[in-house]
């Protein structure tokens, strides 16, 4: 392993959905800081990972793509096996992959409910389950789950998303307790409204409302989430465990 002088260099980090949006910013930040980044994503993320690599100066070879759907446990374990085989260890896991399927509860279909819970809540559980033995065995691990301000506040039209993201906080705290003495930490970052394709998919009027209702009067940037994730993944962040770090421009306190 490389020198660990900056708290992350040489570490093997998994970023689910790490090819674009917030995940892309996380992959970029970690690769630039010298980490080895394994992006797990859907088939469409393969090309996106290529473009991301192309945008990196000098650290492109630090980013590797593994196809996998986090909503399917067998696919998660397969990807993890491949990563372990290739790199010998897994130090950090960032559960970032997420989807929305917005409708008010009255109109929401059962499929929409299940699909969002599967990816946004079961996905992180499957991934954690797949890496946890390796982390405990090496007595080191950093897990960060990307929750959302909506998991704390609720939001009209997002019963499924809010439930999944709130559930993720319960999962975070439980894992934190279960492995607290094993050198592994588990924390959550809860972003506010961040300028990515997920938010671009909202109707323009809704985006305007989101900005207007954010005390600092702007959307956040993916890099602003990435640096908080990076902070929590640092070797020296070992006493931060079970915490939820809000990055939301004051939208929810």
């Amino acid at each position: 392993m490389n020198t660990l002088s900056n708290g992350i260099a040489g570490r093997v980090c998994i970023v689910t959905g790490g090819a674009r949006g917030i995940g892309g910013a996380i992959s970029t930040r970690l690769a630039n800081d010298g980490a080895i980044v394994a992006v797990i994503g859907l088939p469409a993320d393969r090309d996106r990972t290529e473009s991301l690599r192309a945008s990196l100066n000098g650290s492109a070879e630090n980013v590797v793509f593994y196809e996998g759907d986090v909503g399917e446990y067998e696919r998660c374990t397969k990807a993890i096996e491949a990563i372990l085989q290739e790199h010998g260890r897994i130090d950090c896991l960032v559960n970032n992959a997420g989807i929305t399927a917005d409708h008010t509860a009255r109109k929401m279909t059962i499929d929409e409910w299940n699909a969002v819970l599967q990816v946004n809540l079961s996905g992180p559980f499957f991934m954690i389950k797949a890496v946890l033995d390796a982390m405990v065995a090496q007595n080191y691990g950093r897990i960060v789950n990307i929750s959302s301000v909506v998991g704390l506040s609720g939001n009209v039209g997002q019963a499924n998303y809010a439930a999944a993201k709130a559930g993720l906080i319960g999962l975070t705290k439980t894992i934190a307790l279960e492995v607290a003495t094993k050198g592994v930490t588990c924390n959550a970052v809860a972003p506010g409204f961040i300028a990515t394709e997920m938010v671009a998919a909202m109707p323009p009027a809704a985006i305007e409302r989101a900005v207007a209702s954010t005390p600092v009067q702007r959307l956040g940037q993916p890099s602003e989430i990435a640096r908080t994730v990076r902070f929590l993944l640092d070797e020296e962040a070992g006493y931060i465990n079970g915490a939820v770090f809000n990055v939301n421009g004051g939208w929810y306190m």
Partner: protein
């Protein structure tokens, strides 16, 4: 990282505050560290950091006295021209169950821990507004979230800091000033060493990670929140507590 910046850290010459002072000074900031009665530890802290080539000044003043806060703020502004960061860290405990706690015990802890942050903030806020930028970090405590037997006054003061910080965060959101709290768990400082040994062992039993935190582990969270790039973080509470009562 903080070259050219000026920080004021109350209670900045001992314990967690000294770790904050050290880290910010190491990053190139000038740190004005406040103290109230610990003249000796203040002198030692300054000498140690000066010998490392860091730029640190120490300032006597009680945060529970608005006039002292105004004077210290003026002293720092006169000498260093600006204040970019305010870290309200000074704090005390006077532990007793409510049945035994006197009105004075209550008042004293609230005056230092909660009103102290208000007074010091007041003394620097107009300056920060004028410059259109600033970072305020208030050191609260896990006890402000959970409460604790024998700490009604302390818990109330630390929970009060959450309400103070969030209100100020909203008031300052469009002025380039962020206001956040860091909530430490049990950290190995003199404050914790004051806990009787048997009681301390019980405390550690309750911490999921089975150890006290180090002052440096709190300081790095403070540093993170002070960075320019943290402008989208405001009104937040960042815990660093080894998994205790999350």
């Amino acid at each position: 990282m903080f070259k050219g910046k000026v920080a004021l850290v109350t209670g900045g010459t001992r314990g967690i505050g000294a770790a904050i002072t050290t880290l910010l000074a190491t990053e190139g900031a000038h740190v004005a560290a406040g103290y109230s009665r610990g003249k000796e530890s203040a002198g030692m802290c300054q000498a140690k950091l000066a010998s490392m080539g860091a730029s640190v000044s120490v300032h006597q003043g009680r945060v529970d006295d608005p006039a002292d806060c105004a004077r210290v703020a003026q002293e720092v502004l006169d000498r260093f021209g600006r204040v970019d960061f305010l870290v309200n860290n000074a704090g005390i405990t006077m532990d007793k169950t409510v049945r035994k706690m006197t009105a004075e015990d209550w008042q004293t802890v609230l005056s230092v821990n909660l009103s102290g942050a208000f007074h010091m903030t007041k003394a620097l806020l107009e300056h920060m507004i004028e410059r259109g930028s600033g970072r305020i970090v208030n050191i609260s405590s896990v006890i402000g979230e959970t409460g604790n037997v024998g700490q009604a006054n302390y818990a109330a003061s630390k929970a009060g800091l959450f309400g103070f910080s969030k209100s100020l965060a909203l008031e300052m959101a469009q002025r380039g000033i962020t206001v956040n709290c860091v909530a430490p768990g049990f950290i190995g400082t003199e404050m914790v060493e004051a806990i009787p040994k048997a009681a301390l062992e019980k405390v550690i039993e309750k911490i999921p990670q089975r150890r006290l935190g180090r002052p440096e582990e709190v300081a790095r969270v403070v540093r993170f929140l002070l960075e320019d790039d943290s402008s989208y973080i405001t009104g937040a509470v960042y815990s660093v507590n080894g998994g205790l009562d999350m």
